[in-house]
Symmetry: D2
Subunit: 369 residues, 4 copies
Amino acid sequence: MIIVMKSGSPRQEIDLLLTELSGWNVVPELSVGKHKVAIGLIGDTAEIDVRQVQNLSPFIEQVLRIKKPFKRTSLEFRNGEPSEVKVFTPSETITFGQNHPVVVIAGPCSVESEEMIVDTALKVKAAGAKFLRGGAYKPRTSPYAFQGHGESALDWLATAKSVSGLGIITEVMDAAELEIISSVADILQIGARNMQNFSLLKKVGATNKPVFLKRGLSATIEDWLMSAEYILAAGNPNVILCERGIRTFDREYTRNTLDISAIPVLRNLTHLPIAIDPSHATGKSELVTSMALAAIAAGCDSLMVEVHPNPQKALSDGPQSLNFPNFEQFMKEITPLGKFFGRWQEPRYTNSKVTQSQTSLANWKIGVL
Amino acid sequence: MIIVMKSGSPRQEIDLLLTELSGWNVVPELSVGKHKVAIGLIGDTAEIDVRQVQNLSPFIEQVLRIKKPFKRTSLEFRNGEPSEVKVFTPSETITFGQNHPVVVIAGPCSVESEEMIVDTALKVKAAGAKFLRGGAYKPRTSPYAFQGHGESALDWLATAKSVSGLGIITEVMDAAELEIISSVADILQIGARNMQNFSLLKKVGATNKPVFLKRGLSATIEDWLMSAEYILAAGNPNVILCERGIRTFDREYTRNTLDISAIPVLRNLTHLPIAIDPSHATGKSELVTSMALAAIAAGCDSLMVEVHPNPQKALSDGPQSLNFPNFEQFMKEITPLGKFFGRWQEPRYTNSKVTQSQTSLANWKIGVL
Amino acid sequence: MIIVMKSGSPRQEIDLLLTELSGWNVVPELSVGKHKVAIGLIGDTAEIDVRQVQNLSPFIEQVLRIKKPFKRTSLEFRNGEPSEVKVFTPSETITFGQNHPVVVIAGPCSVESEEMIVDTALKVKAAGAKFLRGGAYKPRTSPYAFQGHGESALDWLATAKSVSGLGIITEVMDAAELEIISSVADILQIGARNMQNFSLLKKVGATNKPVFLKRGLSATIEDWLMSAEYILAAGNPNVILCERGIRTFDREYTRNTLDISAIPVLRNLTHLPIAIDPSHATGKSELVTSMALAAIAAGCDSLMVEVHPNPQKALSDGPQSLNFPNFEQFMKEITPLGKFFGRWQEPRYTNSKVTQSQTSLANWKIGVL
Amino acid sequence: MIIVMKSGSPRQEIDLLLTELSGWNVVPELSVGKHKVAIGLIGDTAEIDVRQVQNLSPFIEQVLRIKKPFKRTSLEFRNGEPSEVKVFTPSETITFGQNHPVVVIAGPCSVESEEMIVDTALKVKAAGAKFLRGGAYKPRTSPYAFQGHGESALDWLATAKSVSGLGIITEVMDAAELEIISSVADILQIGARNMQNFSLLKKVGATNKPVFLKRGLSATIEDWLMSAEYILAAGNPNVILCERGIRTFDREYTRNTLDISAIPVLRNLTHLPIAIDPSHATGKSELVTSMALAAIAAGCDSLMVEVHPNPQKALSDGPQSLNFPNFEQFMKEITPLGKFFGRWQEPRYTNSKVTQSQTSLANWKIGVL
């Protein structure tokens, strides 16, 4: 149930209302939009009479029931106001959201060595990425395939973060590793294969780290929003939804099928930011740029792209990874479109940043770090 | 098998080669690109020795076998040169192709009356469409649903064509109607449900009309190209491929799933122009604009959009149709992006055209036409 | 709308009712069940008041509206009574239906020569098949693949029919061939790729030949029944539905996915007989027997199986074809299960039949036929 | 790599070979079949020369490489010998396997109360089930849906086990609950949504409990076998594969699509026992019997069926649950078919068992237990 307050409702009145509602066996959650304030009621609201709520205050504009099975993730819950997921990286605070620049996340499928990940971090940073992705714990179809370097990889990610100033995003597969991963990661990724691992969702929902929730291979839009709902219901509102291709009958020329219409569909259903991963969606590096362009045009808030120093020798997902020159070219091709849509961050203090990074790199190389 | 000639090969040499090859029990087809000329050999080329062909002329640069099951539709067949499908409409010659402006096709699912289709034609023309779509014979899931006005609808389309100067595209479901449809239509549409109606493909392949080949609901990229191959093999090279959404597990918020990656995938496989139908792909008018933007960004050559004077009262496909103001708004939103990519035709002589149309309309209304 | 008559309603009363209803701008269709008679009303019944119909006769037990989009194919339309499709073959009359033995149809994908098809006919007949399948006109994905021997193949099928006494089923792809095919075929097959070729459906619906309607690759149960409805609505009630595998994400170990639950689902929705084609569904000859056993256990009324004298050399679909010893073994494995369910025809006069066939064969070989 | 020993190889020779191989940086695993013994080698066998192994003993018949990505789960790994998963229940030892009776598992989706689960246990036992299913921890799409009674439910399952003598199978969603669940459960279920939760697979692989591995909603056969491989690779060979319906485009009349061909496909690829869950596959109680019959005919080794005392009031999955009389009827319908295929256990000592159960029940009711 949502209570929309009239424009200019006094704060005192809203506080009174919150106090009153707290006695009703529901949890009220405040959502402050540009023009209006809305109060979402969580709990068993089936018994509550709409008129009874309406009568609580003359400043109430409207009381609405959310009929969809997803509540906190629904657009109505924030009265149509998109949410912003703010992430504090060493260099700057990055905001994921509909009214913010498109955030580029780049890096390898798995962290293969310290040198490799630091090198990648500096290269993708120089080209304009804001976050470094890289798997320390890897979900692999085969138990005999490389499973990630685990804790060592986390250490190397920490170095890359320190050297580059980039934010770090890495996947959590097991709640047992949540603490150690959280010590390095700025964003926790839940992979497609764990999208309905409800135990894990509850646990990342109990942290305050932003969560990057990838869509399951055959998850419907509703399944996906319900999984996000698990995280929000556990107390963590910082969820970014990432479409990474769905499984269809045609798998000959692409690994998965990018469901580009998920962008406008989600925009109409939820306030959460929307990311696209054109690398996993297609499985082919040569298709990444055109799919990223399409995603920007369709209105995505973030792009996650696989970049590897030497894709031919990658321990995983080589065919879908861009090498450094390809990634630079990729950024050159998508930047004008991002600007065209007014969704691109102009680089600030670039020179000093680079200098700082280069200094960090020099220090790292001579063992000071 | 493809014979690529060296740049600057004399025409006489090429003619000699064609004559020679005609005696080899294969059909040579000439493809003239910007820089080079290529000769495709059709027939049982399995027995032909590549070196033997190579020795036919010192102007031969390379002789290649096409290993894919589709031959004439393959990009190699034209040595990487995109093909151009030229259509002569009353107003102008329109070219579908990778190096040409994006062509917008608009109109209702079915032609419901003369007034309705003429009205629509003038409105979509004014907004920038180059072709009018409209079904005279409709493939409907139910035998009890409206099946189209048939020959009357063709007459009305002819009026709309004459009044507006737009080209006409309409669906052929039955070879028996091919002749009468061809007397009005500038482009023949083969619908998704007939994509593997091989008898029909052969028959439209035997005409010289451009064919708009919609992808089947669960056709793989290869199935689709093989259907195009039927048309080309029958002698008609003027095929435009149209992605209109595929059938997947998620049909709650969209009617089908737009396979946007089909654009770059096809670009790497075939020389044929590529169109996108965001109306059928999504089944929701509110998703059409963002999907059209994505399609332009991904590099499509044409867009087919459903427009109806009054979607609420449409005899078919109302929920996915734009009304006139929506379509005007749609064109305003996609035009800047088309220009951004250098894929938009600047309107020429707009005033005089409109005047002409208005005059035609006036004539039509007073019964002169 | 369905009018269910009370048990024992006099014929005269029913006739009066039919006459009365004929004046109502609807077409009444009589369906005589074991215990009761039902009258289906076809046409625009939306305006008709149920009570008004009820009042027409005291012998009316119930008047019901059919809410499903499919009417004539719905189980309600025959008041729950399964329909029987009777086919007259040279040897005997075969009935497809829920209360009849499972009918086995066998033969090659395409008719490759007279000798091959006659040989196959005799072998599958000896093993217990009642119908010979074989394509004269073949729908092939590639225009360069073998397209069938056409009219010659029809002649050879006629010979095989005469020699073996089996009924003939063969595919119609083009209405132009309907007449010539009908001169030989006892059952017309509509292939999966033409399931929504509505023009063709109307044309086979206008004949009185039984139609074997294969399910489209991604047709829903409802799409499929609507296609059957086209045939029934055109006047031909003799439709057999054949599930032949649907297209899913997993195509590595099977060509398609056999939707076995289609059998009980259809049983609850329609009165039409249900066949299963385990050969196309799996695409692997080694999976055919277990899928046929599953189909019998789930209650199918007919099985269509591909049999070829030499699958390794088949011009099409070799990997899914059984050779003669395999087919004999197949029949030995499924027969006890058919008997277990009381759905197997005991062979009658087998010796004399074989003798007759052998005589025919001898005659055929010495050119008497 | 597999080493197949000649029939009658002396045990001493095999032991010597195992000792020798242990020094090769691989783990040899012995598989004793009816006629022959095979030794599977796990580890990096790529470098090992087949001839070198061949020369180790004159009793070696053949040395083969397993080319499939799944090794321990492959049929070759056991030289074609089906594996047997033995489970010790209070009443008897039950064996799942190709040469054993079909094992029926029955019970509710979730354990709702002690009375309900004890009641169900006695009823399904009386009808012939060998295992009781029931969720204590439930994976639900919505965080607001009933999530299971957790530890209380485990206690109730323990009571039901003690009272009925049935084995218990229940789902593990979180490694943290593995120990407590293992104290009650005889078989651990991994649900469809966790099929690729590789952390969890490794953990159940580290136990010695039999694992019931449900197929993911869009898992290919190969994905599924690779998930089983995780469990076997972690040391637990007791895996039962359960097909429970896959996600396809048609979800109107069934919840999922039962992939019945998975049975023969798996039979040719793996030695593991195969179960079918017709309740989840169809989502409709009225389809369960015919799908169970199909599964038995196709050769499944086990059936898992949802049974609830009052499906209309079930906290989850009511529409697909049988009530007690339906389940009794179900068993009556499938038993003759199980016997027909020689895959049914004749009830032994039924009277005394029932007496024992009734006594236990009496004790339980008067609080002795």
